[in-house]
C-alpha cells in the first residue's frame, strides 16, 4: 500500500500535524537564504576566476592585505541573519517539544524490531497507530532493549525511545490519512524493518475504533496490581507496609532522606523495579524488586491503574 505523498510539492512529505507547516516554512526560509548565499559565492568565484584569469606570467596583482570594515561586515551581518533563524527555530522547537494540557495519552513500547502501542481505552496495536484528527496527543514511550526513535515524517516529529526511562512528545494531527512510521535510531539487524503506518481518522471513526471492546489499561493494571501482591502492602488507608497510592500521582512525596520528589510515571516505574532507591518517609525498605518480572507494557498498565486511584472522600488527608 503506497502512502500518499504530497502531490503538489513532491519534494515534501505530507504535512499532517499542527507543527508541520511551521517547520516547512522555516525550512523554506532557510533554503532561500542558503540558495541566495551559496549562489552568490558560486557566481562571485566564477566571475573572479574568469575576469581575473591569468593573461601572462608577467601579471602583477596588487598587494591587498585586507579590509577591517569588510571583515566586520561579513562577520556580523551573516551572524545576525542566522541569529534570526535561531530565534525563530527555537521558538518553534519549544512549542513543538513542550508539554501541552489536556492531551490524549498514547503509550508506546519499542523493542527490537517492532512498535507496540497501547491506548488507555484498551486497544493494542503492533506497528500501527490509530489516532483521531484534531486532538492533542501525548506519547509516553520506553524501550525494552536498545535505543529506538519514533519518527513520523508527515508530523515532522521524532523522539528517541530509551531503555530505562520514559520519553515524551506532544503532537496534534491535522489531516486524515495514512502516513509512514519509521524507527529513526539504529537499533540492530532489522532496524529498517521496524516501520509501520499511522492512521489519522475522523473523530467519530476513531471513537468507533477505540471502543473495540478490549480491556482498558486501567483494568489490566488493576489485575496486575493484585496478581503481584501490590494490593497486600499498599492499602488505601496508608496503614499497610507500604504507602497508600490513592491520589499520589503527580503529588510531591517526601522521602526518608528528607528529599521531596514528584510522583510521576518515572517515579512509579523506578519504585517497582528498584524500590530501595527512594523510600517514603516513615516506611521501611521492605518492598521487593520486580525487575525482570513485569514487562514495560505491564508497568504502564499498573501506572495507569495507580493514576486512576482518586481520593473517594472530600477533604481527605493529602499524602505527605
Amino acid at each position: 500500500m503506497r502512502i500518499s505523498m504530497n502531490k503538489t510539492l513532491p519534494l515534501l512529505p505530507e504535512s499532517a500535524s499542527d507543527i508541520a507547516p511551521e517547520i516547512d516554512l522555516l525550512m523554506l526560509a532557510e533554503t532561500a537564504f542558503s540558495i541566495f548565499f551559496t549562489g552568490l559565492i558560486f557566481l562571485v568565484v566564477a566571475y573572479f576566476a574568469i575576469k581575473y584569469r591569468r593573461k601572462s606570467e608577467a601579471d602583477t596583482p596588487p598587494h591587498i592585505h585586507g579590509s577591517l570594515m569588510l571583515e566586520l561586515a561579513w562577520t556580523f551581518i551573516p551572524f545576525v541573519m542566522i541569529l534570526g533563524f535561531f530565534v525563530w527555530g527555537t521558538n518553534v522547537y519549544f512549542r513543538a517539544y513542550s508539554a501541552q494540557p489536556n492531551a490524549m495519552e498514547i503509550f508506546v513500547t519499542g523493542k527490537q524490531w517492532m512498535w507496540k502501542v497501547q491506548h488507555p481505552e484498551g486497544p493494542r496495536e503492533i506497528n500501527e497507530l490509530h489516532v483521531p484528527v484534531g486532538r492533542t496527543l501525548k506519547f509516553t514511550m520506553i524501550s525494552e532493549d536498545v535505543l529506538h526513535s519514533y519518527y513520523i515524517p508527515a508530523f515532522r516529529m521524532k523522539k528517541d525511545v530509551l531503555p530505562g526511562r520514559y520519553t515524551y512528545f506532544w503532537i496534534t494531527p491535522t489531516k486524515v490519512g495514512s502516513y509512514h512510521l519509521f524507527c529513526a535510531e539504529y537499533c540492530g539487524t532489522q532496524h529498517s524493518g521496524m516501520i509501520g503506518t499511522v492512521h489519522v481518522m475522523e473523530q467519530s471513526e476513531y471513537e468507533k475504533w477505540v471502543s473495540g471492546g478490549d480491556e482498558s489499561m486501567t483494568a489490566r493494571g488493576e489485575q496486575l496490581f493484585s496478581q503481584y501482591g501490590c494490593v497486600t502492602c499498599h492499602l488505601a488507608d496508608g496503614k499497610g507496609r507500604g504507602p497508600s497510592l490513592v491520589g499520589v500521582y503527580n503529588s510531591m512525596v517526601k522521602l526518608q532522606s528528607g528529599v521531596v520528589v514528584k510522583a510521576d510515571e518515572s517515579y512509579f516505574r523506578e519504585s517497582i523495579l528498584n524500590p530501595r532507591a527512594k523510600i517514603v518517609e516513615k516506611y521501611q525498605a521492605v518492598m521487593p524488586t520486580f525487575q525482570g518480572q513485569i514487562s514495560e507494557e505491564g508497568l504502564l498498565q499498573i501506572i495507569a491503574y495507580i493514576k486512576s486511584l482518586e481520593k473517594e472522600e472530600e477533604g481527605g488527608t493529602p499524602q505527605q
Binding site: S67, S98, H180
Partner: protein
C-alpha cells in the same frame, strides 16, 4: 661507488627518497618526510577499503528491497565504511601526510620536535588499522561508527571490542601528531619566522593540534569504558543498573564533534595555500583567516549536543548547543569570504589544485548552510537521523575535505616526489569528482527531507529514484578517485621531473629542491619577508 642501481647518488642529487634503500631506513626512519610517505601509502589503502564498503552500500540501495545481502551484512558495510573513513582516513589525512611533510619545512626546521614520536604515531596508526582489519576479518562490526549503547555494549554480536580497540589505538597516533606539531611550531621556527609570518597551513594545523590534544583523550576513555562494559558486563551505560545510555552519547560526541574540525581545518589550510598561489596574490585578511581557525577550534568544543536534540537531553541545554552551533558557522563563512576576496584582482590560473580549491569553496558552502538548517532545533526534529544529515556531512567531508586533500596532494606532489603528474588526466579526474560527488549526494538532501531515515537496508518504494541517482553518481565519483591512483603511481616512474618551484609559489617549501634533501635545508633559512609576498615577487621581477 658500486655499480648496482642501489648505489648512493652523488651528494648533489641526494634527497630524502634516494638517501638509503634498506627496509630499516624506511621502517625505522626519523625523517618526517619519509614518515609522511609511509602515511600516504597506508591512508590510501584505508581510503580504498572504505570506498569498497561504500560501494557495497550504494549497490544494495539501488533497489528498495534488501535483496543483495542480508540486513546484518548491510549494517556491517555502512558501519565499517564509517569507522574506516572517520578514524583511518579523515582524521589523519592531511596532518599525517602533507602536514608531516611540510610543517618543519614551512617553519624552517630540520625536522619535527620529536622524530621518534612521529614514527611511533605511524606505528600506532598501523596497529590500530590492523585491529580494524582483524575486526573485518572475523565478521565485521554492525553498530554504526557511533557505537551507541546499549546496542554496542550488550546486544550486538559483532567485533565491537576489536573495532573500538582499533579506533582507540589510532587515537593515540592522532594525539602524538598534534603534540609534535604544537611543540615544533612553538619552539623550532627559523629566525625571522614570526607568528605573523606563518603560512595559514601552519595556523590551521596548530588549531587542529589543539583539538587533537584536548578532544581525542575523551573518545579514548569512552571507548575504554565501552570495551570494559562489553568484556566484563559491567554497567556504566546499562539502564538495568542505573547507568545511562545517553551519557555514552555525551562522552562520544564531546570528542566526535570537535573531531570533524580536526578533519576539516587542515583542509582549509590547504585551500589557503592553493588560492594564494594560483591567484598570485597575498591572502585577503590573513589575521582573520588565522584567527578563524582558532575560533572554530574553541567553539567546536561546545556544540556536541546538537547531535542529541531528539535524544532526551534537556531543551534548555539544546538551546545553548544550538546557539553556539550557529556561532561556529561564522568563522567558516569568514574563511570563504576571504578566499573569494583573495581572487579579486588576482592572476588566476586553472591548474588542478586550483580546480579542487574552487570546488571546495562551493561544496563546503553547501555543506555549511545545510549545517545551519540542522542546527535549527525545530528542523532537526524532522531531519535528525535521515539522509539529509548524511548528505550534509558528506558535503563537508567529501565535497570539502577530500577535495582539499586531493588539491593538496596535487599541489605538493612535485615537491614530495620530484615528479609532475599529467595535468590533463588530473583535470579530467577533478571534473569527474565534482560531477560524481554532486550527483551522489544532492539527491540525498531531498530524500532526507521526504523522511527517509539513514542506516536503512530496505526502504519504501517512493524513495527509489533518489537512491538510484545517488548510486549512479557514486560510480562516476569512484572513477574520479581511481584515476589519480593510477596516474600518481605512473608519475613516480615516468612523470616529468619537477623543478623546485613549478608554480612560482611563495613559501619556504618552494625554496628547497623537489624532492627535498633529508635535512630539508642545506643552509638554515633566515626569514625576512612577509608571508605570501607575491607582490614583492612581481616587483623583483619587474626590476630585472
Amino acid at each position: 661507488m658500486s655499480a648496482t642501481h642501489e648505489a648512493t647518488p652523488p651528494t648533489s642529487e641526494l634527497n630524502y627518497l634516494n638517501n638509503g634503500w634498506t627496509w630499516q631506513s624506511w621502517l625505522l626512519t626519523g625523517d618526517h618526510k619519509r614518515i609522511a610517505m609511509l602515511y600516504v601509502i597506508s591512508i590510501t589503502v584505508f581510503f580504498a577499503l572504505g570506498g569498497l564498503f561504500a560501494g557495497a552500500v550504494r549497490l544494495e540501495l539501488i533497489t528498495p528491497q534488501g535483496d543483495m545481502m542480508d540486513a546484518e551484512t548491510y549494517n556491517k558495510m555502512f558501519t565499517m565504511h564509517g569507522v574506516i573513513m572517520v578514524f583511518f582516513f579523515l582524521i589523519p589525512s592531511v596532518p599525517a601526510t602533507i602536514g608531516n611533510f611540510l610543517i618543519p619545512i614551512m617553519v624552517g626546521a630540520r625536522d619535527l620536535a620529536f622524530p621518534k614520536i612521529n614514527l611511533l604515531s605511524w606505528y600506532l596508526y598501523v596497529i590500530g588499522g590492523f585491529c580494524g582489519l582483524y575486526a573485518a576479518a572475523v565478521g565485521g562490526v554492525d553498530t554504526g561508527w557511533t557505537f551507541y549503547t546499549p546496542y554496542s555494549s550488550t546486544y550486538s554480536n559483532s567485533a565491537v571490542i576489536a573495532t573500538a580497540m582499533g579506533a582507540f589505538v589510532a587515537g593515540f597516533s592522532s594525539i602524538l601528531t598534534g603534540l609534535n606539531f604544537i611543540v615544533t611550531i612553538h619552539k623550532m621556527r627559523a629566525p625571522g619566522m614570526t607568528w605573523g609570518r606563518l603560512p595559514l597551513f601552519v595556523w590551521a594545523h596548530y588549531a587542529t593540534s589543539l583539538i587533537q590534544l584536548l578532544g581525542t583523550p575523551v573518545i579514548a576513555i569512552t571507548l575504554v569504558l565501552l570495551m570494559l562494559e562489553r568484556a566484563f558486563r559491567i554497567g556504566f551505560f546499562d539502564p538495568a543498573l542505573g547507568g545511562d545510555p545517553v551519557l555514552f552519547q555525551h562522552l562520544f560526541w564531546f570528542y566526535s564533534h570537535p573531531a570533524v574540525y580536526i578533519m576539516i581545518l587542515p583542509g582549509m589550510g590547504v585551500i589557503s595555500e592553493i588560492i594564494t598561489c594560483f591567484s598570485k596574490k597575498h591572502v585577503f585578511g590573513y589575521h582573520f583567516v588565522a584567527g578563524s581557525s582558532l575560533a572554530i577550534a574553541i567553539l567546536g568544543f561546545f556544540v556536541w549536543g546538537h547531535h542529541m536534540f531528539t535524544a532526551g537531553q534537556s531543551t534548555y541545554a539544546g538551546m545553548v548547543f544550538s546557539l553556539i552551533t550557529f556561532a561556529v558557522a561564522v568563522p567558516s563563512a569568514v574563511k570563504i569570504f576571504n578566499w573569494t576576496a583573495t581572487m579579486y584582482k588576482g592572476s588566476v590560473s586553472y591548474e588542478t589544485p586550483m580546480l579542487y580549491a574552487m570546488g571546495f569553496i562551493g561544496l563546503f558552502t553547501i555543506g555549511g548552510v545545510t549545517g545551519v538548517m540542522l542546527a535549527t532545533m525545530a528542523i532537526d526534529l524532522h531531519l535528525h537521523d535521515t539522509y539529509f544529515v548524511v548528505a550534509h556531512f558528506h558535503y563537508v567531508m567529501v565535497g570539502g575535505m577530500v577535495m582539499a586533500y586531493m588539491g593538496g596532494m596535487h599541489f605538493w606532489w612535485p615537491k614530495m616526489t620530484g615528479r609532475m603528474y599529467p595535468e590533463h588526466w588530473a583535470k579530467l579526474s577533478a571534473g569527474l569528482v565534482f560531477i560524481g560527488f554532486n550527483l551522489t549526494f544532492f539527491p540525498q538532501f531531498i530524500v532526507g527531507y521526504l523522511g527517509m531515515p539513514r542506516r536503512y537496508h530496505a526502504y519504501p518504494e517512493e524513495f527509489q529514484v533518489f537512491q538510484v541517482l545517488s548510486t549512479a553518481g557514486a560510480s562516476v565519483l569512484g572513477v574520479g578517485y581511481l584515476l589519480p591512483l593510477i596516474y600518481f603511481t605512473w608519475s613516480i616512474f615516468k612523470g616529468e621531473k619537477a623543478p623546485p618551484n613549478p608554480y612560482n609559489a611563495k613559501g619556504l617549501e618552494w625554496t628547497v629542491p623537489s624532492p627535498p634533501p633529508t635535512e630539508n635545508f642545506r643552509i638554515m633559512p633566515v626569514v625576512n619577508e612577509e608571508v605570501y609576498a607575491y607582490a614583492e615577487q612581481h616587483e623583483e621581477k619587474a626590476l630585472v
